[in-house]
Every structure is written in structure tokens, then in C-alpha cells.
């Protein structure tokens, strides 16, 4: 009976077939990522080991000697054929690793890269944007100054510099991406706060004795939160792609972490030798996930943004 805006938004999205399809794809990918995070106990010589995930247990295969095409029985190394120990759905790479397994390992990395920097950036953007928009005056000036300085430094150079300082790694990359990417959302939140703080319900709450803290986080924040949700879903695909680019230029995640960027990076040598499956697998995974997220994010924005929804 009582319907919140969120429930109405869910209803709207459910009417959009493409968005539902996108959401399903995201769920499948998310499941893969989760399976890659749940460790599986294995009894070894020195007691129980937890270093393999469910995904590893299911898909990891003994490495071959070198490249092999999809579903081949034999591979070629130094112009000599060698027999494969098992079948590989999308072949193996130069180290003989199963390409499908590598691509699946990339899912967890993609999700972490797509979500964690957004959360870090979200915290910066929400707090600074709310404060700047609500208090105005010198607080606004200082915060605007900070983000104008930050946004006038070329992003990629700043990222590289930060990664140099913190050393390479998945989580370091998340922090670096988060700290450098909050400006856009912060601007949006500041602008929306300027509007919302003058709404009569905020005035009415103040007339009932609400404190600044309560007004900011209880009355204004929920009304600008749609911006955060929209921005986070739209940023997801951009972040996932930026990881592949950063890894490609050599400042992304360290070797040993699943990464579509590294698979694509290898391909610039492989393609000349007609080894196409590594690149294809990474690109296909990237493409499907990004497309699914974009479809879903678009529908979500249509459902949440009051301007597009036609309520205001």
C-alpha cells in the first residue's frame, strides 16, 4: 500500500526489458566474483589450507606448456606439437594457463575496481559536497578550491604518481582511483544541496528545532542520494575500463591478480601470430559486463532522477 520512491523506481526498472536483462547479467558476474572470494578448505600435508577459492577449485586446470587454440587437442611450442593434458574451452595463453579461468579471475578484480573507488569517492563527495552546499561562505570557497586544484591536475599523471608512492596493487589502485575521482560527484551534490537546503521541508524541520547535523544528514542527504546511486552505477563501467587501460600501460594491478587488462596487454604480441582467443575472451567479458551495467544504469537513472522522471 505505502510505496516509497525506491519501490516505485524498482517497478519502473522492471518494466524495462533491457535493464532487467542487464541486471541478470550483472548478477551472474557478481556470483562469479563472490565464488572467487569464498575460500575453500583443502586438506594438505601441513594441515587445512584456505588459499584456493571455490572458483579456483572448479575452473583451475593444470597448466600446459604454452599456447593452444580453443578446444584443441594439441598445442604448438617452437614449431613442435605437444599434447594437452586437458581440453580448454577458450584455449591457453603463453604460460599454458587456461584462458577461461583467467577471464573468470578478472571478474572479481573488475567488481572490486568498479565498486571500491566509487565508495571512497562517494564518501569524499558526499561530505564535502554537503558541507560546501549547506554552509556556503568560506567553507564553500575552500572546498571548491580543493577540487578545482585537484581537477586541474591531469588525472592519469596524478594516478601514476600516487601508485608510484603506494606501490602497485589492487587495493592501492582502488584508493588512487577513489581519491582522484570524487570531484564530479562532489560538484553535483553541492549544487543539489544548494537547491534542497532551501526547500520548505528543510525550513520546516529547522522551524521544529532540528540541528544542522540532522538537517544535513537526515533531511538533505536522502534527497541528494539519488545522485550518488546514479553516479556510482554510471562510474562502474568507466572504472572497469580504466583498470584495463592502466594495467595495459603498466600501472594497474600487480601480476598474479586476475586482470582483463593484462590479457589485452599480452595480445599486442600475440595477434601477429594469429593467437586471437586471449584478446577475444578478455574483450568479450569486458564488453558484456560494461554493456549490462550501462543498460541497467541508464534505466536506474531514468527511474531515480526526478528531472527525467517528470515529477519536478
Amino acid at each position: 500500500m505505502a510505496e516509497s520512491h525506491l519501490k516505485i523506481a524498482v517497478k519502473r526498472i522492471r518494466r524495462d526489458g533491457l535493464a532487467v536483462a542487464g541486471f541478470c547479467v550483472i548478477c551472474v558476474f557478481a556470483l562469479i566474483a563472490v565464488l572467487d572470494m569464498v575460500p575453500l578448505p583443502r586438506r594438505g600435508v601441513s594441515g587445512v589450507k584456505w588459499n584456493l577459492t571455490v572458483l579456483d577449485a572448479v575452473f583451475k586446470k593444470a597448466p600446459e606448456k604454452s599456447y593452444s587454440p580453443p578446444l584443441a587437442k594439441k598445442g604448438i611450442l617452437n614449431r613442435k606439437e605437444f599434447t594437452l593434458t586437458s581440453r580448454h574451452l577458450i584455449g591457453t595463453d603463453n604460460l599454458g594457463e587456461d584462458v577461461l579461468y583467467n577471464a573468470l579471475k578478472g571478474v572479481r578484480t573488475a567488481f572490486i575496481i568498479g565498486i571500491v573507488p566509487s565508495l571512497i569517492a562517494g564518501i569524499f563527495a558526499i561530505i564535502l559536497g554537503l558541507l560546501a552546499g549547506y554552509y556556503g561562505g568560506w567553507i564553500d570557497d575552500v572546498i571548491q578550491y580543493i577540487y578545482q586544484v585537484l581537477s586541474s591536475i591531469p588525472g592519469i599523471l596524478l594516478l601514476i604518481a600516487m601508485l608510484m608512492v603506494m606501490e602497485r596493487g589492487l587495493w592501492q589502485l582502488c584508493v588512487a582511483l577513489g581519491v582522484t575521482s570524487w570531484v564530479g560527484l562532489c560538484r553535483l551534490i553541492r549544487g543539489e544541496t544548494l537547491k534542497v537546503k532551501n526547500m520548505e521541508y528543510v525550513e520546516a524541520a529547522r522551524a521544529l528545532g532540528a540541528s544542522d547535523f540532522r538537517l544535513l544528514f537526515r533531511h538533505i542527504l536522502p534527497n541528494v542520494m539519488y545522485l550518488v546511486i546514479i553516479e556510482m552505477t554510471l562510474d562502474f563501467s568507466a572504472l572497469v575500463m580504466s583498470e584495463t587501460v592502466l594495467t595495459y600501460i603498466g600501472v594497474g594491478v600487480e601480476p598474479g591478480t586476475g586482470s582483463w587488462g593484462r590479457m589485452i596487454m599480452m595480445a599486442d604480441r600475440e595477434l601477429a601470430n594469429a593467437i586471437w582467443w586471449n584478446l577475444t575472451a578478455a574483450s568479450a567479458f569486458l564488453f558484456v559486463l560494461v554493456l549490462a551495467f550501462n543498460l541497467f544504469a541508464d534505466a536506474l537513472r531514468d527511474a531515480l532522477d526526478p528531472r527525467l522522471r517528470g515529477d519536478l
Binding site: M1, A2, E3, S4, H5, M199, E200, Y201, V202, E203, A204, A205, R206, A207, L208, G209, A210, S211, R214, R218, H219, P222, N223
Partner: protein
């Protein structure tokens, strides 16, 4: 000033003396409220009347110190709520006053409720800001007040979101929120302007009923003389930041003195012959940054004499509790 003779019979809930609230804008200070004195006693209703931009709302916001600052600032005078002088109080101290000693209902019920919370949550919040009640207790109070303001099935309606209610229902919810802490003063800033006529009467009656029940004093701000006639015990007419005429409702309606008040009454539709044009007061309210010297109404006044341009008239008594500031109608005999 209009409580003379009344202060003996009823305790004064709101006393404003010589309030001056100015806005410091790029074009110089705007004297939006410039020396207003009114008071309201327990169970009484004061109607504050005037056209748009004359300072009614700024007066109301000043009482809760809700003037946006900068650019606004209360530069002088005193405001006493239930015997407590509030102008020296800090923002933190004011939070205790707002909602407890005085609360306010706004003109726009459509936007006065937060769209992301149920109305129950919002009333409970009002209760819980000022008391240390638990959720359950606060919920009971919210249900009680929703029922009091005439919302059917109050317990079920607690779970409704604002967009599911009509304007009239929302204004009832606002009244419940404003009154659930039993404040001695209710400020109603054009409470029915945004509602259609059939709903207006219901909301006004509700305010009257609640007032009779709890003894709340009401400061009713409106530009609608019909509402004033219905509701108010006393009337103060504002023009360009000043009170130009004040007195008991009956006295003002039967024998208004100030030419501006006269203009307001003449512009009422019912007073003109069918088919003839409605009366209008020529010109419009002067900008608050550039009020004319002398009587602020003299530029639009049909009776203006030379003195009006030079000296500012003061409120003088023209008959039991009835005061007027006009050189022509209420000036000392020259």
C-alpha cells in the same frame, strides 16, 4: 502595543517590540521589517495582514530566528516568547525554542514534508527532537495527533509518503507536526493560500479547534481579509515593513481609518458592483531598499498632503485599542 487592556486578562505569549530586521543586499540595506510591535495573548489570534513583500513573513521568521543570514539580520528590538527574551539566544539555544515555545506552519504544504520519509516518521521526529521518548511512545503521540487533525485511519496513514496525500491532508499533517509538542504559540504563514477554497475552511476550522483545545496563541499571517474576519481577535495591518493600523478585529472591520486599510477593503470583490472593475491601490509596494521618506504609503495614497512626504507618522490611538499611523486621518489637529 495592541495588547493594552488585554495583558490584565490573558497572559502574553508573544511580545514583539520595535522589531527591525534588515537585509544587507548589494543595493544597500533592505528594511524589510522596520519597527514592528505586536503581541498575542493566550488563546488569542492576531491576524497580520498586508500585501506581498510588506514584511509579514520576515516578521514570522524573525520570531524563530530563521532569517537567512547573511544577508538578513535582526538589527534591533526585542521578541519575547512566553516571557523569554529570545534575541540574545545562540543558535543552539534557539533549537530548544523552535517547535517547543513556538512552531510554524508554512504556505506550501506540497513541499513542506520531506518526500523520502513517511509522514509518521516525520511527526515522530518532531517529538523526538525535543523529548527523550522512545520510538513507541513517540509513535503513540504521532497517531494521537494525526487523529486529532482529522486524518482518518491515523495508524495506517502513518506509513504513507507525502506524495500519496492531497494538499489539504498534507497541511493537516503539518499542523499535527507543529502542535504535537503543545507550543504556546503557533505561527501560521498563509496556511491556506496554496489550498483550494473548499479545503481552506476545513483547515481554518481545524486551527480554531486545536486552539480552543490547547489554548495556543495563533499568529495568522495572510493577505485574505475574509480569513482575518473569520479567525482573528486582533488585526495588525502591515505596509512596507511597518504596522500602519492595528486594533480589535471588529473595530478594524467596522471603522478602518488608514487609507491603506481602506484600499484593502475596497479591493475586495464583494464590495464592487457586478460588471464594474475591481478597485486597486495604484502602484505597488516600494522596494525595501528604497522606501520613500515620510509616510511610506504617501506615494500611493489618495489623501497625501505635504507633511506625509516629510515626516513619518506614528501610531496614535484613534479609539479603544485601535491605533493608526496617518497624518491625515489620525494626525494631531494642526
Amino acid at each position: 502595543m495592541i495588547d493594552d487592556g488585554l495583558s490584565d486578562t490573558a497572559e502574553t505569549v508573544l511580545e514583539i517590540e520595535n522589531l527591525r530586521t534588515h537585509f544587507f543586499t548589494g543595493e544597500g540595506p533592505a528594511r524589510a521589517v522596520d519597527g514592528v510591535s505586536v503581541s498575542v495573548g493566550k488563546k488569542r489570534t492576531l491576524g497580520l495582514v498586508g500585501e506581498s513583500g510588506c514584511g509579514k513573513t520576515v516578521t514570522a521568521l524573525s520570531i524563530l530566528k530563521l532569517i537567512p543570514s547573511p544577508p538578513g539580520r535582526i538589527v534591533g528590538g526585542s521578541i519575547t516568547l512566553s516571557g523569554k527574551e529570545i534575541l540574545p539566544l545562540s543558535e543552539v539555544e534557539m533549537r530548544d525554542i523552535r517547535g517547543k515555545l513556538a512552531s510554524m506552519i508554512f504556505q506550501e504544504p506540497m513541499t513542506s514534508l520531506n518526500p523520502v520519509f513517511t509522514i509518521g516518521t516525520q511527526i515522530m521526529e518532531a517529538v523526538r527532537i525535543h523529548t527523550d521518548m522512545g520510538r513507541a511512545e513517540a509513535r503513540e503521540i504521532a497517531v494521537e495527533y494525526l487523529a486529532k487533525v482529522g486524518i482518518p485511519e491515523a495508524r495506517r496513514m502513518m506509513l504513507q509518503y507525502p506524495h500519496q496525500l492531497s494538499g489539504g491532508m498534507k497541511q493537516r499533517v503539518m499542523i499535527a507536526m507543529a502542535l504535537c509538542l503543545k507550543p504556546p504559540l503557533l505561527i501560521a504563514d498563509e496556511p491556506t493560500t496554496a489550498l483550494d477554497v473548499t479545503i481552506q475552511a476545513g483547515i481554518l476550522r481545524l486551527i480554531q479547534d486545536m486552539q480552543a483545545e490547547s489554548g495556543t496563541a495563533v499568529l495568522l499571517i495572510t493577505h485574505d481579509l475574509g480569513i482575518v474576519a473569520e479567525m482573528a481577535d486582533e488585526v495588525a495591518v502591515m505596509y512596507a515593513g511597518k504596522i500602519v493600523e492595528s486594533g480589535p478585529c471588529i473595530s478594524i472591520f467596522s471603522s478602518f481609518v488608514h487609507p491603506y486599510t481602506e484600499g484593502l477593503f475596497k479591493s475586495l470583490p464583494g464590495r464592487t458592483e457586478k460588471g464594474s472593475r475591481l478597485y486597486t491601490i495604484a502602484g505597488s509596494v516600494p522596494s525595501a531598499t528604497g522606501f520613500p521618506p515620510g509616510c511610506r504609503f504617501h506615494t500611493r495614497c489618495p489623501l497625501a498632503i505635504e507633511k506625509c512626504n516629510l515626516e513619518e507618522p506614528l501610531l496614535v490611538e484613534v479609539g479603544g485599542d485601535h491605533r493608526c499611523a496617518c497624518w491625515v486621518r489620525a494626525g494631531e489637529p494642526a
